[in-house]
Symmetry: D2
């Protein structure tokens, strides 16, 4: 099963080199407004088309809705939506069956399924599967907007380049506007330019970079999240680690919290215009797994792209001997910028699911 | 529902100041050997009894099995196991209903459930609920041992004090032996002594400390994990963020990976005695969400204990006015040492669930 | 997993000859009123104690609540409730391991689990497991009563003896009052007396009888039920076929509907005091899987008790040869009367689950 | 959620008057052989095209597979398969919004969703949704065939006409061959001809008929089924009551068992060529909810088609007044023949799910 969610669920469908990739989304109430063109725009932001830093596999991802939406509204039935795979070149991947690529799922997938599962183009491990996550998140915007709930994701760092602290204090709308205005998805143009340079340098060296993405959700009421096992942190991290290449997730002060004292870390409660808020937000808007009403803040560590244009050590599984491997194919030297809309949209999906479960919607 | 797992499930039961806390564990096959005394030993390692650094709430946690085990074996039915709450003092907590404690779940829980849910002693947000996690993990050891699968957790850092890098290269058995030999759960006695000093100093100052816990699993075959949404990382992080005070989770190089180059981060495949291994283990034993056969390595950031013996800013929810709050009650100045056995056992439970789902068991 | 339900779940725990049998019930909202003494009364109605027609295994089923209820209200946590097994005699059952009893689960259970699963006293196939169903249903009454939803079950027939048609038109309260007033659970005393005679005759002959139980639910709003797979009929029948010995389930006209014409079967819509009702109720209060607001009516066929005091043909599984088997042990010659409170309570549980899922509660 | 199953799941998608209807099927292992042309043939058997007794809505149901099958094998990913709706005429249904049709879901659906859910053509309550069930069952044949498991369904009765008892003793292959050879799906040509006459007479009178369908599964090993709540009977009946118009389900002797004595109903165990069988099969191949290795036998009561060409009493929901309603549209005077392939295929799906859960596959 490749399915996620409880009150709302998404099943990602297809695979990299099959006829299509997409999503089946269930649980959106009949009558929920859905603007299909905005789902398309979300897909366009994930698309490599027109990005100078991205993979050369360039195909417009045209959304096709098979069922579940009519006259701009959810019918209440399963929404089946997909994007056809066009630019499929089977050649480059087929030789990888015997010699697994370092950093890729090739080896464990082969151990699990033998040759029963087609992994050309990465198969279900391809970043292309995240199209389903973008669709799922874009479909639930009609549930969140009327409640004033807004989600943003942006690039915090790429390789050694960090966004300046000052930029992090911008209002959510500004963070989104600036991040969407540059190719790396950073909320600060100077850093964005340096990140771009770092990626280009990595590419020239046949190498790759990782980075950190930050997600924020504003407008959530206090008390969202399910007690104990389905805390906001548990459910969001479960979702985030589904995104290929994510190797760390933290909330609020996160790993920094481990070095703080309680007197420093605790966020004091204060009243702001009659509303209970906290002065700082080290908790990332989550206490006891439930939202506090402060912005939810998460950060995701993204590893550098595994496919690099350098010879690497691997082994032949059949011949049981070492092999020097040169990975071919078309790859992003840094997937962080394209992962930003995935994180933003999938965060929205998780939040909508938690709100529905908790009957806030 | 306070339930976790798929092929194996655990429901945590009871609450801090109710008659008992415990677990209902389902899915363990009939005939699986279960040594009840080892479950008790696991609980004893979590217990504050005899720990100089721990809360003064000191009660022996005596395991009672209501059903599901007979003659040292699982019957195949639900295992109902619990520990009675003995040392319950209701006084200190009752005044907190109106003035939420900074860093605690009081505020969002009150917003969610009003007064319908009893939160004295932390209720379901109490660290005492982790007794159910320890029980669950200890119960599945009879599934893991015959396969040679071994799990350990230990303290990596407390406040500013880190374990020396050299200690991290010790074999798993040694890591466990040394960690169990000192009160802070660290695999290095010198660091353990400094950690102990740091905790005592924090306590003297009416303050608290956090830290980092590392978990490792050895002996897993390659290919464990479910594709896409139920990757090993997704499921483990979901579990880990259920443990109160955890604010970050990373695997392998984790957040460091975000600053590495692909050529540096990729783990080259090599043959060791005919078995495919990786030279380094930056992936933390997980590629594409599936195990590689290398040790699974996870780290958890634990925030400093929220209850500190200092006046803090809060608000009266009824009177809508600021209040200076002094938290009373009995608390650990650092919960990291007692969280170590929770992480170790719950890791084992998650691994057993994934192995069962994937039919490795 | 021995668990049922969606928004509310019940896990039946224990087994016939283990230390206890009971239920873990999850999902009842914090604050729901629960009268433990009424749960006990429901158990008493299922109990053989004081029934002249029942098994000689006679033990008072004393309810023990381990967690989840406090001060007459649900805490919102899992409710762990059980009854200790007292009158356990292991002897009679142990010889059945090799020679399966006709009509019992012995044979397929042995094929499935070998000797890993303890089936003495019927194990999990014992009618005693239905204690968990009674508990589950009795616990949710505090959700149904404030909505005016009332559930009843009664005996429609035992062996060849049917309740007179006139009795079926009685109001629900009367059906319940009369049925609880005689030992066979029938809503008509004349029939009840004849049923009693039939059971006694069967017992004298070392034989057993089956019968039909009818369940009714009144007060449900129209529209309850989940579309397509989780229709009211689907979910109720799923529940009913869990009750040992049930071999048929029908709603409204049921199997009679198969011989009716549409013009006869369709229930015309009419207005009664401004409310939409149907003139007849051939649909059993369910159209398209959703409630119509008319009484929900279900009937369950219960087979005759399998354990009879006559020699029967069986085989020795080890020796692969025919055996004449005389079943020993203590058995009801007709379990219909004791199944009535099980059906009544478990119907209430299913209805409460559907109402919660559909947000009618 | 319109989803069913555990180890294998099916989500039915689309609706009667949307662009398509179909199924998303998950859990079929990578490499399972799937003959798409046989799925098409199963759909053709459900289709009204070429049936003189069926609805005049006549459209060829052309299967389109969007993902999950490649080169005649399951890829292991979700199978998205659908059939486009071609012959959609919106007119006849739109006036029904205010005046519910007797025997239809119109009224409760309107109470549940108001006008948010489009019910033209029956919407999700249309018999057309069973296309998804046929697809699901046809897709799993590649799991059952290698194990020698065979499923058949046939018409037992239509209106007052029953199949002769002798026909019921035919081998499964013969039952299938004869049933597929006549338009009503009966395993006896004489009865088939009389059934055909009864249906034509009902149609001439503007009326409709119901009937009984029997399903059989042969080749199942003993022990299939999950203990207590997910017995074979529970899961099959859950599935069967999803099929529109089913109002009763029984196994083996079913409702007849309620009038039998234990000495008569119990199936004696015997050895046949070294294999344990039962002499009779009153249990319908199921004891304690588990298969015995004997044929599984189920019967479903199907009510007469609700849409009849006669004026009926209904009410105007808006004006709160009685209305005489004449239902227009295109309808089958008896849906039993077309429900037969639905029952046959969906039985296969349920069986494959239970086998997978129990690790028989």
């Amino acid at each position: 099963m490749m399915r996620f969610g409880t009150a709302l669920t998404v099943t990602v469908t297809g695979s990299s080199h099959g006829p299509s990739v997409g999503a089946v989304v269930e649980g959106i109430p009949a009558g929920t407004p859905i603007r299909v063109e905005e789902v398309q725009q979300a897909l366009d932001r994930r698309s490599p088309v027109g990005r100078s830093l991205a993979t050369k596999r360039q195909e417009p991802d045209r959304l096709v809705v098979q069922s579940g939406i009519r006259d701009g509204k959810a019918t209440g039935d399963a929404i089946v939506a997909l994007v056809e795979n066009q630019d499929v070149r089977r050649g480059p991947y087929e030789e990888l069956v015997d010699v697994p690529r370092p950093g890729h799922a090739d080896f464990p997938a082969r151990m699990r399924w033998g040759s029963a599962r087609d992994l050309s183009g990465g198969g279900i491990f391809s970043g292309r599967m995240t199209i389903g996550l973008v669709i799922a998140g874009a479909l639930v915007q009609g549930l969140l907007e009327p409640k004033g709930i807004d989600t943003v994701a942006f690039t915090r760092s790429i390789g050694p380049v960090d966004v300046a602290d000052a930029a992090l204090d911008l209002p959510l709308q500004e963070l989104r506007r600036i991040s969407r205005g540059n190719e790396v998805g950073a909320p600060e143009d100077t850093a964005a330019e340096r990140m771009r340079g770092a990626i280009e340098e990595a590419r020239r060296n046949g190498d790759s970079l990782g980075g950190v993405i930050e997600a924020r959700v504003e407008g959530l009421p206090p008390g969202v999240g399910e007690p104990f096992f389905d805390s906001v942190e548990s459910v969001l991290s479960h979702a985030y680690f589904s995104i290929p290449a994510v190797k760390g997730v933290e909330f609020g002060a996160g790993f920094r919290a481990a070095r703080m004292r309680g007197s420093e870390h605790n966020d004091p409660f204060v009243l702001k215009e009659g509303v209970v808020r906290t002065r700082s937000n080290h908790s990332g808007g989550i206490l006891g797994g439930l939202t506090t009403g402060m912005p939810v803040v998460a950060r995701l560590a993204v590893k550098p792209t595994s496919s690099i244009a350098q010879e690497q050590d691997s082994v032949s599984l059949s011949r049981k001997e070492p092999v020097r491997l040169m990975v071919k194919g078309r790859h992003d030297p840094c997937i962080v910028p394209r992962a930003v809309p995935v994180v933003e949209n999938f965060t929205a999906f998780v939040v909508a699911d938690l709100l529905t479960r908790g009957r806030f919607l």
